[in-house]
Symmetry: C2
Subunit: 430 residues, 2 copies
Amino acid sequence: QGTRDHPPAHTALRDRLLAAVVTCFKRHGAAAIDTPVLELRETLMGKYGEQAKLIYELQDQGGELLALRYDLTVPFARYLAMNKVTNMKRYHIAKVYRRDNPATTRGRYREFYQCDFDIAGQFDPMIPDAECLKIVHEILSDLQLGDFLIKVNDRRILNGMFAVCGIPESKFISTCSTIDKLDKMPWEEVRSEMVEEKGLSPEAADRIGEYVQLHGGLDLIERLLQDPKLSQNKLAKEGLRDMKLLFEYLTLFGIVEKISFDLSLARGLDYYTGVIFEAVLLQQENDHVDVPTSVGSVAGGGRYDGLVGMFDPKGRKVPCVGVSIGIERIFSILEQRVKASGEKVRTTETQVLVATPHKHLLAARLKLITELWDAGIKAEMLYKKDPKLLKQLQYCEDMGIPLTAIVGEQELTDGVVKLRDVTTREEVRM
Amino acid sequence: QGTRDHPPAHTALRDRLLAAVVTCFKRHGAAAIDTPVLELRETLMGKYGEQAKLIYELQDQGGELLALRYDLTVPFARYLAMNKVTNMKRYHIAKVYRRDNPATTRGRYREFYQCDFDIAGQFDPMIPDAECLKIVHEILSDLQLGDFLIKVNDRRILNGMFAVCGIPESKFISTCSTIDKLDKMPWEEVRSEMVEEKGLSPEAADRIGEYVQLHGGLDLIERLLQDPKLSQNKLAKEGLRDMKLLFEYLTLFGIVEKISFDLSLARGLDYYTGVIFEAVLLQQENDHVDVPTSVGSVAGGGRYDGLVGMFDPKGRKVPCVGVSIGIERIFSILEQRVKASGEKVRTTETQVLVATPHKHLLAARLKLITELWDAGIKAEMLYKKDPKLLKQLQYCEDMGIPLTAIVGEQELTDGVVKLRDVTTREEVRM
């Protein structure tokens, strides 16, 4: 339940999509790593907040207590700590596992791909962070997914905001995960969860409500730097100054017009410590493709400076920032688009079918196809001793194979083959 | 335990190896599919004989009882049956899981890659089977692994042999898994396992012992077709006739000199019904590369005509034949070879590092690198506001980046960049 087989047409389209993502990651100098699907249970514990209940656990068959990885970020942090790597730019494309309620029509599965790019190391502020946003911008542009917006915020600004609104520090993280629901439910519901479930005072909730409605660009950052309350908070001020720097870099990258500093963006995971961001596709008015009304987030990420230290015996920190591309949602969109366009995705790359026009020519086919394979040409033949020519040509049409190489008695005698263009039916002897 | 992280150098080499395998699979017209890492436990039960104890099971957290896949063959058979596919040529490269005693120095892990190519469908005898052997031959040749031999046998010949040696049919499968150990232990030990553990009579064991020492080519097939006992057995005769046909096709493919018909080859899995095969690397006398004495099997496979029917509610059969490339062992060999040669495997593909020779030029670097990225060029820069030029050049040397694009005040004024070849130190302004 909540998993699926990927048939060839699906896999071919997905491989095309993943190739585009990998091309971008490599353009930014990332190396690939791979980690096991299995992690020690203790590695995953205490990293995902309320979502930890969704972790798949393996049965205790003797030996270590294991679980399936929930994301690629925690395994990356463990990898850095275990191997004492303090400096790395890596990508990792692999499946992760969540015992969630599957909503397969909306592209939510229990087994799904993540495509992560992360930069680990002690660097000057906001330069790697800006590159992560540039990568999101490049990928969403390359894939021609239509207009999009990248929302940006900073956990330090959120925490500062919570502090000046009178929320005790112990409730920062749980308040974050409530605010994170603002993209799915209206403020009134979020407010009542804050007051009734999280135990905030109504006044504190209302003060937060004023902030989280704000979004904008450099102007908003400047305004909040002057905000009489926020500007008094050390964390918020630090976050706002870095946000300003980030916007400078994004301007130099030429992508600032797609970025929105949005105080309602919180992200659910515990481990973020600085910049957080999320990319959403915008609904286009005259959109001929049938995109569902809410496509939701297609990329997200942020800075997590404390996670690696949790795996180091001496608690040594390695600052990290990274982005995860929501490949499954993007795939759903591309798949709908392919369907709408009527494009037939080829599932194989065969260039030529080796065919014979009459009986007793299997040996000729086997010899010719050997020549082709050994020359690196992608070739197929039907696995029949004496297939009908029509069947062979039909196979080419079904599979989109562009050429047929035909050998009959005459061709054998003349030492040639007849090459036929499947679409135009033109033939040449060669 | 028994799993491992793959660091960038490892992943880069493995990706190169997998690309070579995929190229071959695509040359033979295969489409890719993907199936979940999780399977229902009942899907895996009764398919692997004695090896079933090595299956990883998931904890019962409510819902279905799940396990991690043990190979890619059983999931493929389930896929065909579930989707009512009766005709397919597919490849699948993915990780599988076995709770085996890890022997990591010999390349045996609990999580490892399998690379499978399979042909499903009702076809004329031995044509797809021969193609599987051609694929093994192509891959082992392409990878330049040195001399190799592909051993071939047929379960029908084995079963016929067991019958004429007086073994009851109920013991065929368990006798097969004993014979399968002949490549690891001497005949005497195998014989005593047969007699003491599997309960065969000493006479039956000795008669088997005579057969399993035979190996050869067409001549041996002809001889066994005349064998007074074997030729009386219907199954054995069918197997021998098909073996003869196989050798004809392999001759046309031009690969017969690497094939050995070997009566000691049995293969451990329950589900084989016809041709079985296994490729082994041969030790070369003046081998400068330090290959361990026994590299063992690097590819294997066979025909399994009954497996799909086990998943079909009406038991409808889909004949299949396939091959699995032992990528982990091949990887170990390639890795040793790379080490021995001193070749440095690049882990990234970065073409140019954008550098500045003095302070206050971060904006110039960000602008130039944007131009490069947007033009599809793989470019990096250091994440420092004011890195020293020497540090930047050192980074290029460490990472194997061939070019540095340098912008200083002078270049900015002149509207040029200085392009430096990292190895030769030649510079051009452009």
